[in-house]
């Protein structure tokens, strides 16, 4: 009995491990599922609509704000140097909070602590612009998030949230993005769900949008309760997705259908 129980448990674990990961050599960015027209729009900065936000972000980088009357540039100087590769490491562990922060969270922490300004609301034009400008400095660099040992429990939490079935349709992220990424959902490519290009311009939104916006859309799509903006659950999911995409090149600001 005991032995049978062990065998059953061992094979259940093996099954779970198998379903969990897309082999390294089969990982594909959402880019590779797109039409030639949409790829061309992402590739050419003169037509990529995301570049409008990047330009706004560059102006905001230099603008003084808050009671300390400092700009981002007053502390970090030239973003092309100081912010190179930074976004590829986010979400990152924040000691003061004992938990990870995503790039938006980090920008707002700098606003609060160093500029003494009010935090920018999620999905506001200014927060998207600053995030896009910082993320663009990592374009082409490999994603390296999730290595910090302090992040381990949060990566694991994100993985569990990715696997869990939820909502009225009772589906988990993994049911689509690990198990069915070569298929179509009502005509659109499901993709492997790698967060390589955020914030990105989505044709359906006719706007730039954050990774959290994308995750909330998938969660609402399965008719589950979307986690609040900035919630630990959304950040854990972002972290798991980034660690799952480790080594893939950053594309921000990408374009998606």
């Amino acid at each position: 009995m005991r032995l049978l129980g062990c065998i059953a448990l061992a094979s259940a674990l093996a099954g779970a491990a198998l379903a969990a990961e897309i082999p390294q050599d089969q990982r594909r960015s959402g880019y590779s599922f797109m039409s030639a027209d949409t790829k061309a729009m992402q590739d050419d900065d003169t037509v990529n609509p995301g570049m409008l936000w990047v330009l706004d972000g560059e102006a905001l980088w230099k603008r003084k704000a808050g009671t300390s009357d400092k700009s981002c540039a007053d502390c970090h100087y030239d973003a092309r140097v100081s912010m190179k590769g930074v976004a590829a490491h986010y979400p990152a562990y924040e000691k003061a909070f004992g938990r990870p922060l995503d790039l938006e969270g980090r920008i707002n922490l700098c606003r609060a602590n160093h500029q003494q300004a009010t935090p920018l609301p999620y999905e506001s034009r200014d927060l998207l612009a600053l995030t896009a400008y910082v993320a663009q400095q990592s374009r082409g660099m490999p994603i390296e998030a999730g290595d910090d040992p302090d992040l381990k429990p949060f990566v694991e939490q994100g993985r569990e949230l990715f696997m869990q079935r939820q909502g009225q349709l009772n589906l988990g992220c993994a049911n689509c993005h690990d198990d069915n990424w070569d298929k179509k959902l009502a005509g659109s490519a499901i993709t492997q769900g790698h967060p390589t290009g955020y914030p990105l311009y989505r044709l359906e939104w006719q706007s730039l949008g954050s990774l959290q916006r994308r995750l909330r859309a998938c969660i609402t799509g399965i008719r589950a309760q979307a986690y609040d903006w900035g919630s630990p659950e959304l950040v854990a999911l972002e972290l798991y997705l980034m660690s799952r995409a480790r080594g893939m090149p950053m594309e921000a600001p990408a374009v998606r259908p």
């Binding site: 009772n170 009502a186 609402t220 309760q225």
Partner: protein, 142 residues
């Protein structure tokens, strides 16, 4: 599920949740959920409508609908492969037939996790809608 093991389970919890009770016999729900036969024309229209969610995953003989899924079998010929009662159980609660299926249970409100406020306590489809869809699926013969 073995066909020899004929299981009769009256889902008594169903009525407590505002769902109509139904009986599972083997791998089927033989009796209509509403006591009457559904309308196949309405059933077809429901399947083609995106909000019913069927064509997110399935495709079938619906040339007017450009966006269909390919996560699930083509619905053509469903009526040749399955009886009316088997199709009804498939829609009501496909997870009874295959515990790991991705096909949602269309007439179930328990055992779900984190359902969004607007959908909480409601089945995906009503008993009438399920009967209409079943009435249509049995006509799909090849």
């Amino acid at each position: 599920m073995t066909s020899a093991a004929i299981l009769l389970a009256v889902v008594s919890a169903a009525s407590a949740q505002g769902l109509r009770p139904y009986a599972v016999v083997g791998d089927a729900v033989p009796d209509s959920l509403t006591g009457t036969r559904g309308d196949a024309t309405r059933g077809r229209a429901l399947i083609v409508e995106r909000t019913s969610t069927c064509i997110l995953c399935h495709n079938g003989p619906f040339p007017e609908q450009k966006s269909q899924g390919d996560l699930a079998p083509n619905l053509s010929g469903s009526g040749s492969r399955w009886s009316e009662g088997q199709l009804r159980l498939r829609l009501v609660d496909a997870s009874r037939l295959n515990a790991t299926t991705i096909m949602p249970s269309y007439y179930r409100v328990d055992g779900l996790n984190r359902v969004g406020r607007s959908w909480l306590g409601k089945p995906i489809l009503s008993a009438e809608q399920i009967e209409d869809i079943v009435a249509y699926l049995v006509t799909l013969r090849d």
